[in-house]
């Protein structure tokens, strides 16, 4: 029998737990991608190994389609895996994870197509691929190279599964809304109202002036927290700014000329947090290790 959405998620979590990952819960501040969670953004910095996996609901206001498009969502779920440092057989481990959720690789076509990842607001980029399964992009795979504008000591592998796509594929449905989430509940039962209302908010209702004011407030808060040398609370403010930027963008409130400047404001904060995290990690003991030896 085909797995429902949550069974697929359970299996992926189990798979990575068995390979030494901490299973985290989603971060509770709005993010555009699992990469932005402190569990990735901050933990990839510094010399200590780390392994973590978590589902992250990711908000991309501009991608909302009022629940009318079968494949595009304002908020989608990613399963984010960080393996720091990246093991030599990381691609084999990834492929085995597909087997673990019921994809028989001998009966499918897998291709790794060049797709380098970059997040200008985070000063982060990496090298990697989009993984294509029978012509469908199901995963973004990235070897992080820089984060917060700094070269990384240990290159982590980041595996980002697009859970809706994978589930729709496994269940053979044409629309994400037809995915069986749990027995008796479809994806539309759980999330459709969300998509409709937030599309309305993101495109029509969000008050642009207030969003700009909020952006400035969170930016100011972040700067004060950076001065107080508390990187984690400061980083929450970065995420707020980043989300507000995405909202303003969806509202069409950022002109092309302004865009570069706003991105730089967010990046400066993010880079500041990353630096602070590295500096304070050097002086204060932090629970960074996971018992794994550095390569």
């Amino acid at each position: 029998m085909t797995d429902n959405f949550q069974e697929t998620v359970f299996k992926l979590k189990r798979y990575w737990a068995d390979r030494g990952c901490i299973i985290q819960e989603p971060y509770d501040v709005e993010v555009g991608a699992g990469t932005m969670c402190p569990e990735t953004y901050l933990r990839v910095l510094g010399p200590k190994p780390y392994r973590v996996a978590y589902v992250q609901p990711s908000r991309r206001p501009a991608d909302g389609r009022y629940g009318e498009n079968p494949n595009r969502l304002y908020k989608h779920q990613q399963l984010q895996v960080i393996l720091k440092p990246s093991p030599d057989d990381v691609l084999d481990q990834y492929l085995a994870s597909l087997e673990a959720i019921g994809i028989d690789l001998l009966k499918h076509d897998i291709k790794f197509e060049e797709d380098n990842w970059e997040a200008p607001t985070l000063g982060a980029w990496g090298i990697g691929w989009q993984v294509m399964l029978d012509g469908l992009e199901i995963t973004q795979f990235t070897y992080f190279q820089q984060c917060g504008g700094m070269d990384l000591d240990l290159v982590p592998a980041e595996i980002t599964y697009g859970l809706e796509r994978i589930s729709a594929f496994l269940q053979g449905v044409e629309s994400v809304y037809d995915i069986q989430w749990a027995p008796g509940f479809k994806y539309s039962d759980v999330r459709l109202a969300d998509e409709v209302e937030f599309s309305k908010y993101n495109f029509e209702l969000a008050n642009v002036d207030r969003l700009w004011r909020l952006f400035a407030e969170h930016e100011a808060e972040c700067k004060e927290l950076l001065a107080a040398k508390v990187p984690l609370p400061a980083y929450d403010q970065v995420l707020k700014c980043s989300h507000l930027f995405n909202l303003l963008d969806a509202r069409g409130a950022i002109s092309v000329t302004e865009r570069v400047g706003v991105i730089k404001r967010v990046r400066d904060l993010a880079v500041g947090v990353a630096r602070l995290w590295i500096d304070s990690a050097a002086t204060e003991p932090r629970p960074l290790g996971s018992g794994l030896e550095a390569a």
Binding site: N71, S86, L95
Partner: protein, 654 residues
């Protein structure tokens, strides 16, 4: 000895592989010529006849002078670590003939290969182990096979030791295959890796064609093998297999341009035609595996394509809610270039320019609509269809054929290979669009510098030149461009006639030096010149023209409009030449070819003149008159081309 190097990596971007192989072909294998192959996961160098060792050689070490005595010689021998008997007095000095033994090739390669492999230049590299000081390569190196004969060439890169173990296809093959040089390729094949790119390419071509042939109604139709896509697929697969997929014929209502773009660019599928120019509801996908036992791959690809086509249909329907003409104001929010304003500003410029260039009302309407598709969902999704989408929408919205056609093709020519717009309206809108971009960018200091050309101005200029020449447009070049932009365009004119049209560089220089009215006229003069060039009189006459130029220059002769005084002409060659020139001027031949033939026919008279007549005559009046004759001759000859630019056998090639 035979040599095999296989660099095993994670999947390398397909477009970078040919350049990497080219660099590996320069690997120093001691005179043996390497052959190269690659798949996405391996770069392979093979060679035969690699010498087992380098030859011994002799080195002469000069010691102390003989006058320093035998004691010094013994000291020298000791220092060199040899017996004193080996040090021989030669030519006033003690000298040691030192034998340097050759080295084993395997040792040399073990030392040189790691650096040579890591020296490959890639457009973008990564590190993956050893921190930021670790080795950099395009993707992680996971295994290395390095063999010379039956021996492993021992070395290590990024913690990977060379050996004789290769890996097969990710899913279908073994991940640990011991190989010898002799069985390497066949072992790979047993493990579902076709090493030869040529063989993979042919397999794709044959299978894709076979998939399409079954559904084609005419023999000339079937799978459209796009060469770029074929190359991409060759280098993203280790074991390519083509399969046919189908889609609902209802999608054929969408424009073929959109369907083809989705298939080719987004999904890497070949499109299939049922009859010439008519798409069939099928596609060919190329898998990186041997078969599709349960039809799941076909089904999966069909599902993805259906979603993509649904998106496209959704975009099409949504976009029709707002006509192109009603989108003009929205262009105010789309930046063309920060210093040059929005696309609305640009549109206004282009409309004005089309008007100035005497474009028809249809052309002006097309200019007004041409950028409006930038705000459509379809173009936001499929950016390379800009222009095409605008044209299709204009057609659907009832614009007249000349208008929509002009919008459709106004980005052409996209490259040197691309043809210019077919319609006069398309030509003029494309010309105005590109010219406006060039004028705008040059006016705010955004001219290309060196290799940097972020606004693709060279391409725009090349398009301007191509359109002006090939559409034979009647605009005077000097009215289109002045100053730096004029110089920039002249470079592109030279490039176009040399590289695209194959004229010799000196012919192009000669014609341009005679002045530019329209570019079509430049083309006519070049054709006439290239035709006369091989005839026997031409190059000697060109040499004479150069001589005349030098004489006039040396004499610092300034033509002051003084008429030739026939009474000062000496009977014989001088008078004959002047008479002939007068007749030539009277005839006023306008056909470039005939005129050049007549000019070339002056050769005997000109030769005779220089042979018999002293230009530098003692009488200043006669001298001035002769210079006037030569000056007149040169200016009459130079209306088509400045022959002094022609490189003749007597010149050094510039």
């Amino acid at each position: 000895m035979n040599f095999l190097l296989e660099i095993g990596t994670e999947e390398i971007p397909h477009w970078m592989i040919p350049s990497a192989l080219d660099q590996l072909s320069k690997l120093d294998l001691l005179a043996a010529a390497p052959s190269l192959e690659a798949t996405p996961r391996r770069l392979v160098v093979r060679a035969s006849d690699v010498p087992e060792r380098t030859p011994d050689r002799e080195e002469i070490v000069k010691g102390p002078p003989i006058s320093a005595g035998e004691k010094a010689a013994a000291g020298f021998a000791k220092k060199q670590g040899v017996d004193p008997s080996e040090v021989k007095p030669t030519g006033g000095y003690y000298e040691l003939r030192k034998r340097i033994p050759g080295r084993r090739t395997i040792d040399i390669l073990a030392e040189s290969l790691p650096a040579a492999i890591l020296a490959i230049q890639w457009p973008k590299t990564m590190y993956w182990t050893g921190g930021k000081t670790g080795p950099r390569f395009i993707r992680p190196i996971r295994w290395i096979v390095a063999l010379l004969g039956d021996q492993i060439i021992p070395f290590e890169i990024a913690g990977v030791k060379s050996g004789n173990i290769t890996r097969g296809h990710r899913q279908l093959g073994s991940s640990s295959i011991p190989v010898t040089i002799a069985n390497y390729e066949s072992e790979l094949r047993n493990n579902f890796v076709i090493l030869s790119a040529a063989e993979r390419r042919e397999k794709i071509r044959a299978e894709a064609s076979a998939c399409g042939a079954k559904v084609a109604q005419a023999s000339a139709c079937g799978t459209k093998i796009d060469p770029d896509l074929l190359e991409t697929l060759t280098f993203i697969t280790e074991y390519p297999t083509g399969i046919r997929g189908d889609f609902d014929p209802a999608y054929l209502e969408l424009p073929a341009e959109v369907l083809t773009t989705v298939m080719r660019h987004h999904q890497k599928y070949f499109a299939v035609e049922s009859s010439p120019g008519i798409l069939a509801p099928h596609f060919v996908a190329v898998m990186n595996t041997s078969r599709d036992p349960d039809g799941l791959v076909k089904k999966g690809n069909e599902r993805v394509l259906r979603a993509r086509f649904n998106d496209a249909r959704f975009f099409w329907d949504t976009d029709q809610h707002k006509k192109l003409a009603d989108r003009l104001d929205d262009l105010a929010h789309v930046t063309f270039q920060a210093k040059l304003g929005s696309y609305k500003d640009k549109t206004e410029n282009v409309v004005t320019l089309v008007h100035e260039l005497a474009g028809s009302e249809h052309a002006q309407r097309a200019a007004m609509l041409c950028k409006c598709d930038l705000t459509t969902e379809m173009v936001k999704e499929f950016t390379d269809l800009q222009g095409v989408v605008g044209g299709l929408y204009a057609k659907a919205q009832g614009e007249p054929e000349p208008v929509w056609h002009a919008v459709y093709e106004h980005y052409r020519p996209v490259g040197m290979e691309d043809s210019i717009p077919e319609t006069p309206e398309g030509q003029i809108v494309s010309l105005a669009d590109k010219l406006d971009t060039l004028r705008g960018c040059f006016s705010v200091g955004l001219a290309p510098t060196g290799s940097k050309d972020p606004f693709a101005l060279r391409r725009a200029a090349q398009g301007v030149v191509k359109i002006l020449v090939e559409a034979r447009l009647d605009y005077r070049f000097d009215q289109l461009a002045t100053g730096d932009l004029r110089d920039f365009l002249i470079e592109r004119i030279q490039h176009y006639f040399r590289e695209v049209r194959g004229f010799k560089y000196d012919e192009v220089n000669a014609v341009l030096a005679a002045g530019i009215t329209t570019l079509a006229d430049v083309e006519d003069r070049l054709n006439a010149l290239a035709q006369i060039r091989p005839t026997e009189n031409f190059e000697p006459l060109a040499a004479s023209c150069k001589r005349i130029r030098n004489i006039l220059k040396q004499a610092q002769f300034q033509p002051n409009g003084a008429a030739l005084k026939s009474d000062l002409l000496e009977a014989g060659p001088e008078r004959d030449l002047a008479g002939r020139l007068a007749a030539f001027v009277r005839e006023g031949e306008t056909d470039y070819g005939l005129r050049l033939l007549k000019i070339a026919a002056f050769r005997p008279q000109v030769d005779l003149f220089f042979d018999k007549v002293l230009v530098n005559a003692p009488d200043p009046n006669i001298r001035a008159n002769r210079l006037t004759l030569l000056s007149n001759l040169l200016s009459e000859f130079s209306t088509i081309a400045d022959f002094s630019e022609i490189v003749t056998s007597g010149d050094q090639k510039q």
